[in-house]
């Protein structure tokens, strides 16, 4: 069987795992790995004191890097269910999972509000 991702990486622990979570994890790992390179290339491309040829080369190298090394492809996902929609960033939980856990009393400090 062919490995699905271009590089191998550790499966995230303490989180719900499904295909989409793994896909996101791959992007996170790759972004972390290439962050310095991307920023260095961006610095060269935007530095007006360098020659235009050098800046163009940096810009080309930046644009030919794989999309999964870019931060914009990363999406916050629910730790409990792996869902991507309506994730509360304070708790890293999807709205339904958050509600279940909050009603259950398993999120410290969160209570049902009424006024």
């Amino acid at each position: 069987m062919v490995f699905r991702f271009p590089v191998k990486f550790a499966i995230p622990k303490h989180a719900h795992v499904n295909t989409r979570v793994l896909r996101d994890q791959h992007k996170r790992v790759q972004f972390a790995e290439h962050e310095v390179t991307r920023n260095a290339l961006r610095y060269i491309a935007r530095n007006t004191e360098l020659q235009p040829r050098v800046r163009l080369e940096a810009q080309l190298q930046l644009s030919t890097m794989p999309a999964y090394t870019s931060y914009t492809t990363i999406k916050n996902r629910c730790v409990g269910t792996g869902k991507a929609r309506s994730v509360l960033s304070d708790f890293k939980l999807n709205r339904t999972d958050f509600r279940n856990k909050a009603r259950n009393g398993s999120i410290p400090g969160v209570k049902v509000a009424s006024w």
């Binding site: 080369e57 304070d90 969160v110």
Partner: protein, 245 residues
């Protein structure tokens, strides 16, 4: 100069193991073991006799004449004082030494932690301010009740974070350290402690530092160079860029 340490969330980790001690002991023969047990018994008996012979006179300090009915004894001072607001010492110079910020979702816990800190400070001779309340944070979370798309019925949740602070004055750094380590030992799990320490140096502090010959900077500061700057240099020296410059 300001330095920060955090004592709420297990920043300081220590490990302790008794495994090594057991290994060093090795095996004991049955006869030796019997001897050991005998010796221990004798020591325990001696200790017991000592306690019985020099009895400490019972003379507790008391505040009120309240007597616990079941015991027939007055309430000890330290227990009685728990009913009252903690005592504070007057400031001598008014130099701020440390600030402790408490954060918690439970107000009762924060008061317990704060008053404990103030009492400890009082008995260590550290003048403190009273337990001052800071702004309470309240975050609201409104979520759709249904797991599916029906967005009309919602449910509100909130999380309230209470904050309080104590300011300590006019104490030696050693005493402050002792105080903080005591608080760290008896910290509450539900309260977040954050301490801001203030240290005072003479005006020629920098010159004094320069004159020190065997000055070693902390290892944590070693090799702090911007990784991006290093990478930029590396890239510009690479073959792709060399031919363009």
């Amino acid at each position: 100069m300001l330095g920060r340490i955090r004592i709420g969330s297990g920043f300081i980790t220590r490990s302790f193991s008794t495994r090594g001690a057991l290994l060093q002991k090795g095996f004991v023969s049955p006869n030796e073991y019997v001897e050991q047990v005998k010796q221990e018994k004798i020591e325990q008996e001696q200790f017991k006799q000592e306690l019985l012979s020099n009895q400490i006179p019972y003379a507790p300090k008391t505040l009120s004449s309240t007597v616990i009915q079941s015991e027939g004894r007055p309430v000890p001072l330290n227990v009685e004082l728990l009913k009252y607001k903690p005592l504070t010492l007057p400031q001598t110079h008014g130099d701020q030494v440390a600030v402790i910020n408490f954060r918690s979702y439970e107000e009762a816990d924060i008061i317990r932690a704060g008053e404990f800190a103030m009492r400890a400070a009082y008995y260590l001779g550290i003048p403190t301010s009273h337990l001052k309340s800071l702004k309470t944070e309240k975050r609201l979370y409104t979520v759709i009740k249904a797991p599916f798309v029906f967005a009309k019925s919602k449910q509100n949740f909130h999380r309230i974070t209470f904050q309080k602070r104590i300011v300590a004055y006019d104490a030696n750094p050693d005493v402050v350290d002792l105080w903080l380590s005591y608080l760290n030992r008896h910290k509450l799990d539900t309260v977040d402690y954050k301490v801001e320490l203030t240290a005072r140096e003479s005006l020629n502090y920098v010159e004094d530092l320069k004159q020190l010959k065997d000055l070693e900077l902390p290892k944590a500061y070693e090799g702090i160079e911007d990784p991006i700057a290093v990478k930029v240099q590396e890239l510009l020296k690479s073959d792709d860029f060399k031919k363009l410059i």
